[in-house]
């Protein structure tokens, strides 16, 4: 057993660092490293730069425009992207619907959607959750009834991230109400400009807009927008949700957060000395850094395990649970570290979709930008993607056999 990064992997990581430094525009990098939320324009510029180099979706197969990288290479690339402050591209498209389309879609769907995803030209949203189907997703009620060469879709989706900007939605819809819940669900692609689609913003406690309600009222969807087979959608959704285990720990994001937190602790003072020299604060920050080290080690173990290794489920199961908790705790500590600057509402980004502001938003030091907003929004990290209580039940049933 050796525990150093293999020389080839270490060299690869260094190569990626140099490449990113070379191609990431400096103004975008500056905003990213200061913790600003990336603008839509920044994301799109960055996607095109990546796509010119074939790096938009490095985990996709080469034949669909990916690079066929190993999970390890991809993880190292992510570490370098987050450390450099690169914008986070359209996750719904690249991580979720893209792999479903190249795995289960037909040739026409692949040709129509995949290149546009890689270039950042089509924005996607995920239409899964409904008002009465959250953790119990299989109980969803939105219906799609076949009429000639169309489906007529009726229902309501909620918590739909980026629906207000999306061109397309990939949705789970009920096509058979007689079958058991999981067996009557299909995977459908819906053009957000179709008549009958309406989007209502849901402002979240960070005063920002990222999630929405989507109402589907007699929406006519061409039958060729069905992915795979009718009533097989639940299987595709499960594939999508377990597609990338190690991503769920989000350790590259947390590592970047921690670097920003340290920068705050080096300048913000209490009792005349920087927080990093305050033993109580330093101990709390150190504890989170140690938690991150343990989580990173778990990610590395998962990346090195073979599919089918009996220990894989046990190790992978910790990632989402602990990764999401740590993201919350580090943002919380940053808010505390900022003192008054952590309690006032200051701008996160130029052009962010904020709700009507309650009072003027004065400028603040760059390092304070966005932390309050992030800490508020991160209450969602332990809820989305399967609430952590669901994760615990999954661990109890599948790993512990309880």
């Amino acid at each position: 057993m050796t525990l150093d990064l293999a020389p080839a992997d270490a060299a690869f990581q260094a190569e990626m660092r140099a490449l990113i430094a070379d191609v990431l525009p400096q103004d975008i990098a500056r905003r990213g490293r200061q913790g600003f939320h990336a603008t839509d324009e920044d994301v799109q510029r960055w996607m095109r730069i990546l796509n010119e180099r074939g790096l938009s979706a490095v985990h996709w197969p080469v034949q669909y425009g990916g690079a066929d990288w190993t999970p390890m290479q991809r993880h190292l690339f992510q570490i370098e992207l987050r450390a450099a402050g690169a914008p986070v591209p359209d996750q719904a498209a690249l991580e979720l619907v893209g792999p479903v389309l190249y795995t289960f879609g037909d040739d026409a769907q692949k040709a129509q959607y995949l290149p546009a995803i890689l270039n950042g030209d089509t924005a996607w949203c995920q239409g899964f959750s409904e008002p009465n189907s959250g953790s119990d997703l299989a109980s969803l009620k939105t219906t799609a009834v076949r009429e000639g060469d169309h489906y007529i879709v009726n229902g309501q989706k909620t918590w739909t991230s980026e629906a207000h900007k999306a061109d397309m939605m990939f949705a789970l819809v009920r096509t058979d109400s007689e079958a058991r819940p999981q067996a009557g669900i299909s995977f459908l692609l819906i053009d957000m400009r179709s008549p009958g689609v309406s989007v209502r913003p849901i402002y979240t406690i960070n005063e920002g807009l990222s999630v929405n309600e989507v109402f589907l009222d007699n929406v006519r969807v061409p039958a060729e927008n069905l992915v795979g087979e009718e009533n097989k959608g639940w299987g595709y959704a499960k594939f999508l949700l377990t597609n990338e285990r190690t991503m769920s720990a989000e350790t590259p994001h947390t590592a970047a957060d921690l670097a920003m937190l340290k920068a705050i602790a080096a300048v913000e003072k209490r009792g005349g000395r920087p927080l990093i020299e305050d033993p109580l604060f330093a101990a709390r920050m150190a504890r989170f850094e140690i938690d991150l080290m343990a989580l990173e080690a778990a990610v590395m173990r998962v990346l090195h395990m073979e599919e089918g290794d009996p220990a894989l489920n046990a190790t992978a199961s910790v990632l989402k649970l602990r990764g999401s908790e740590l993201r919350q705790r580090i943002a919380d500590l940053a808010v505390e570290a900022l003192g008054d600057l952590g309690l006032g509402v200051f701008p996160d980004v130029e052009g962010q979709d904020n709700m009507d502001v309650l009072a003027p938003v004065p400028p603040a030091p760059d390092y304070a930008a966005g932390w309050l907003s992030r800490a508020m929004f991160r209450r969602a990290t332990t809820i989305y993607g399967g609430a952590n209580e669901i994760q615990r039940t999954i661990i109890a049933k599948t790993v512990l056999g309880l």
Binding site: T2, L3, M285, A298, M300, T393
Partner: protein, 376 residues
């Protein structure tokens, strides 16, 4: 990076696991603790025969070509069975201290005797005021003719009651030196008692005791620190073994214990607590790999920061998981005759040995602070 074991390491793991399962049940352990030595000298001879006493040492150090990975394999199995033989204090810490500090002839004499099972040695370094600060040595040694005279008091020395050879650290002119002292030498008083987990320990009072210098005078502290770091990682491996054993024992208990006309595993509140125990155990196991990996670090400051991080994370997890194991067992969990409470006792010992969490958190934080200052 390879997380998988070599064939030799797998064979070692199988062999030590087989021993623990076949020859080391809980009742046997209870009997050993009540015996004269508090452990079995027959087992010790078996350890020597099977090559385990040199499993974690390189061939230059008179071992069988292994290192910290082999030590972790042994210690994890020992933690699972709550083994009471002085493996950690003799084959890991004392051997590492000799390897790091002594000269070639001293190494050959001491290490080959330790590996052969002929000599039980222990590092008598800890003092009651240290609480993890290895530099805080108050025992003194002064030159006396060709040798040295030692005075002072060592505290809570694992393996101390049974040791033939004491490796005693003492302050000398400009630093700390290490001395070989016969356990029966004149002026050595051993105050024997037992630790929370039942193992014997000793305080050692040294009054004008004759000691033989190992290696160079004033230069032993870095080697002692390295030996203790290996010892800490050994303790952490024991913790992982103990946690894992407590976790699955509790799982099995919940599946059989009936209350309210059903087995306890059907209660979601208990399922979730067990899920959290699993998460803690898996993170601890991951962190252990990181701790093993940081031991060869050439920079002692960053090595010690890495060991400290792992000490905090793993011992806190071990106490939490084993305490939960007691809670989920209910009353049987707090009885002397049932094993689950003894996993907790070993975890409590691990948490306090070689400095508690606050000490290690502070040492780790100091490294972060230095790195930030260097970057500024």
């Amino acid at each position: 990076m390879h997380f998988s074991l070599t064939d030799e390491q797998t064979a070692l793991k199988d062999s030590v696991q087989r021993f623990c399962e076949r020859d080391y049940d809980f009742e046997h352990r209870r009997a050993l603790l009540r015996g004269d030595d508090g452990f079995s000298r027959d087992h010790w001879a078996t350890f020597a025969e099977l090559g385990w006493l040199g499993a974690g040492l390189s061939e230059e150090d008179f071992g069988y070509g292994g290192g910290a990975v082999e030590t972790a394999i042994m210690q994890e199995a020992f933690g699972r069975a709550l083994v009471v033989e002085p493996y950690l204090s003799c084959a890991v810490i004392a051997a590492r201290a000799v390897a790091a500090v002594a000269d070639a002839a001293q190494k050959e004499a001491l290490l080959s005797a330790i590996v052969a099972g002929e000599t039980l040695a222990t590092l008598a370094h800890n003092e009651v005021q240290m609480r993890g600060d290895d530099a805080d040595v108050t025992t003194t040694a002064i030159p006396d003719g060709a040798g040295w005279r030692l005075n002072g008091r060592k505290s809570f020395i694992l393996g101390g009651p049974s040791a033939d050879v004491l490796l005693v650290s003492a302050r000398t002119g400009a630093g700390v030196s290490l001395f070989q002292v016969g356990a029966e030498a004149e002026g050595v008083e051993r105050i024997v008692y037992h630790a929370v987990d039942g193992r014997r320990v000793a305080d050692i009072v040294l009054t004008d005791v004759e000691g033989a210098l190992l290696g160079q005078a004033d230069a032993a502290l870095p080697g002692i620190e390295l030996a203790i770091d290996h010892g800490v990682v050994g303790v952490l491996a024991e913790c992982v073994g103990a946690m894992d054993a407590a976790l699955w024992l509790t799982r099995d208990y919940l599946k059989t214990r009936r209350q309210f006309e059903t087995t306890l595993n059907t209660f979601q509140v208990l399922q979730h607590r067990m899920a959290d125990m699993l998460v803690e155990t898996e993170l601890a196991r991951s962190m252990l790999l990181r701790a093993v990996a940081c031991l060869p670090d050439a920079d002692p400051v960053s090595r010690r920061a890495g060991v400290s991080a792992a000490k905090v994370q793993i011992t806190e997890a071990a106490v939490k998981v084993t305490a939960e194991a007691i809670q989920l067992h209910g009353g049987i969990g707090v009885t002397e005759e049932y094993i689950v409470g003894h996993f907790y006792k070993r975890a409590v010992l691990a948490r306090g040995l070689f400095g508690a969490s606050d000490f290690h958190l502070e040492r780790f934080a100091a490294q972060t602070r230095r790195a930030l200052e260097a970057a500024a």
